[in-house]
């Protein structure tokens, strides 16, 4: 249930097991019953747990969202769409939405480009290649909370290292905590720090599966390394890139840890300039104890993730197609 989920590998069509006859062995009623019931017993834990702690809460959120519902007092009156109206007419939601999308774009786009570049470097015939791979993966084992603490120090407005470096090269210090866009850049940097290497390894694995004769073919056609990368590698990586984008969308739009820990108050800044949708949800539900409003935000965020997922999928497919055609 991590805010940034552990990325699973690209969902692929499962390989169906060849038909067989298990369960002939044991004679008698027990053996037959055993063979018939056991498979369902083995998969039951997942389905039960998903039903109780995943699907039910998700569906019930829609029900809570249609009521006056206090965290302590419990269910109140049925109010229909009133919570949604309140959320959608207030300033908080739209500001949080804009912040979330801004942080998401600042983290996902550079991250995928950087991961591609790093993967291309790792794809060379390196000495001690495992060491290099481990080197780029190191940030993955640092908890986002710890990452946030470190980076909020690096990006401190007055005595931060980043501002000191900017000043040594003659630039003005940036107000990383009070300026809205600057705070988004700092938070996106934390996300990029933790996930770029991880995604680079996923892309690297896909790169190594690209048949080498495609490159030879491209070289004969006169394509240089740069051209080969964009015309052969990237189109071949399409499914993996789509997968990386979709998982980072699902995780990225629910971002909580990094912005929550960017200052000590955890409310997303004095003017909520880096308050994200999940922080807003948390505020409504656990600071103001308004479960109805919090649930409405959860439902809206859910829909947003679905829409983003679909748009991403279509866009990426299109771009990769175009690249493929230009070869």
């Amino acid at each position: 249930m991590g805010a940034t989920t552990t990325a699973p590998p690209p969902p692929a069509p499962p390989v169906p097991a060849p038909p067989r006859r298990a369960g002939r062995g044991r004679a008698g009623r027990f053996g037959r019953l055993d063979a018939r019931v056991s498979p369902y017993l083995y998969i039951a834990p997942f389905f039960l747990l998903f039903l109780v702690t995943g699907l039910f809460p998700l569906g019930y959120t829609g029900w809570v969202a249609m009521h006056d519902w206090d965290q302590i007092m419990g269910k109140g009156e049925f109010v229909g769409m009133a919570n949604y109206v309140d959320v959608l007419t207030g300033r908080g939601f739209w500001r949080a939405l804009a912040n979330t999308v801004s942080i998401f774009l600042l983290s996902s786009v550079p991250q995928i480009l950087a991961a591609l570049a790093i993967a291309a470097l790792l794809d060379r015939n390196l000495r001690a290649k495992t060491v290099w791979r481990m080197g780029v993966l190191l940030p993955y084992v640092v908890a986002p909370v710890a990452v946030a603490l470190i980076f909020s120090n690096l990006f401190a407005d007055r005595f931060g290292l980043v501002n000191a470096l900017l000043q040594t090269v003659g630039l003005d210090p940036v107000r990383w905590h009070s300026d809205r866009l600057a705070s988004h850049v700092a938070i996106a940097t934390m996300v990029n720090f933790r996930w770029t290497g991880y995604n680079a390894l996923i892309l690297l694995a896909a790169m190594q599966a690209v048949p080498r004769d495609l490159y030879e073919q491209a070289a004969i056609d006169g394509a240089n390394a740069w051209r080969q990368f964009w015309s052969v590698t990237v189109p071949m990586l399409r499914p993996t890139i789509i997968f990386v984008i979709i998982t980072s969308t699902i995780g990225g739009l629910q971002i909580f840890d990094e912005p929550k820990m960017y200052d000590q108050f955890g409310r997303g800044g004095a003017d909520q300039q880096w308050q994200t949708l999940t922080i807003y949800l948390y505020e409504l539900g656990w600071t103001r104890a308004d479960f109805g409003m919090a649930s409405a935000v959860a439902v809206l965020l859910f829909l947003l993730i679905v829409v983003f997922g679909i748009v991403n999928f279509l866009l990426t497919r299109r771009i990769a197609h175009d690249e493929g055609r230009r070869t």
């Binding site: 097991a17 190191l138 084992v141 909370v145 629910q254 909580f256 840890d257 200052d263 649930s295």
Partner: protein, 271 residues
């Protein structure tokens, strides 16, 4: 294939240094006295004050309790995810039963569902059960994951010879005995990787533990949040906490980093 030139190594070295620098920096800050920091603003080498700062961290938040909690939660969740995922993966990969295909598709589809957004009712369920503030509230929802089931299904469908299962059945072994003696041993490589990734993900998880656990019974990330809320201005102290909380995972990385790398890469190759 030709060995690459020094530019490739140089660029990679820059990336690796970039990923190590923030950790180094946190240790440098954490090992200085905050009054010293106020004077010499940017030391590049560690000072001698780390143990003092660490001791203050231990006094400020229930750090040992949080560490123990994190160990309990991460170990239990990892073991449980491995067991139940292997069991379900074995059924999907090697047993024949009505509806297995659509059910597996369902499992895979749930991986894309942001179940985290059901926090409000999930919290209500936990409150009803009297589990708020208890580790069970963090452990139980994580006992088995769709990703785990998917991962083990993929692995087992090519790792266990079907004849071996049939032979065991013919010899009169029960279904579960067959799983225990044939399926489980064959699953070991994939299972240990799943356990490793689940452990890291659980250890670093913050959102749900933060909501459902109180300040008196935190996991490490929750304790770090408390430390920050209490001592934000004292960076040496806060970062000493961050360093202490990260040490166990750095140790894990030193021993199992190679497995993490190949786990990520195998996950991506198996399409």
């Amino acid at each position: 294939m030709r060995r690459p030139g020094w530019t490739v190594y140089g660029l990679l070295a820059a990336v690796v240094l970039g990923s190590m620098f923030p950790l180094w920096w946190s240790f440098v800050i954490a090992s200085h006295d905050s009054t010293v920091l106020a004077r010499t603003r940017f030391p590049l080498l560690p000072g001698g004050n780390f143990l003092v700062n660490a001791a203050t961290v231990l006094d400020t938040v229930p750090f040992w309790k949080a560490t123990l909690n994190s160990i309990i939660v991460s170990t239990t969740v990892a073991a449980s995810v491995v067991f139940f995922s292997t069991l379900a993966g074995y059924a999907f990969a090697k047993l024949r039963f009505r509806g297995s295909k659509p059910l597996l598709v369902f499992v895979i589809a749930t991986m894309a569902v942001p179940t985290q957004l059901g926090v409000v009712p999930l919290y209500q369920v936990m409150a009803r059960l009297g589990w708020t503030g208890e580790l069970t509230a963090v452990i139980v929802p994580a006992l088995v994951t769709a990703f785990g089931v998917f991962w083990m299904t993929q692995y087992l469908s090519q790792a266990v010879p079907t004849e071996l299962i049939e032979a065991a059945r013919v010899d009169g072994a029960s279904m579960f005995r067959t799983f225990w003696h044939v399926g489980l041993p064959a699953a070991r490589p994939a299972a240990s990787m799943l356990g490793l990734f689940t452990f890291v993900a659980t250890w670093t998880n913050f959102f749900w533990p933060f909501i459902v656990l109180g300040p008196s019974n935190p996991t490490l990330p929750v304790a770090l949040q408390q430390l920050q809320a209490a001592h934000y201005v004292d960076y040496s102290l806060v970062l000493a906490g961050a360093v202490l909380a990260t040490i166990p995972l750095i140790l894990l990385f030193i021993f199992a980093g190679r497995q993490l790398v190949s786990g990520i890469m195998q996950g991506a190759v198996k399409q």
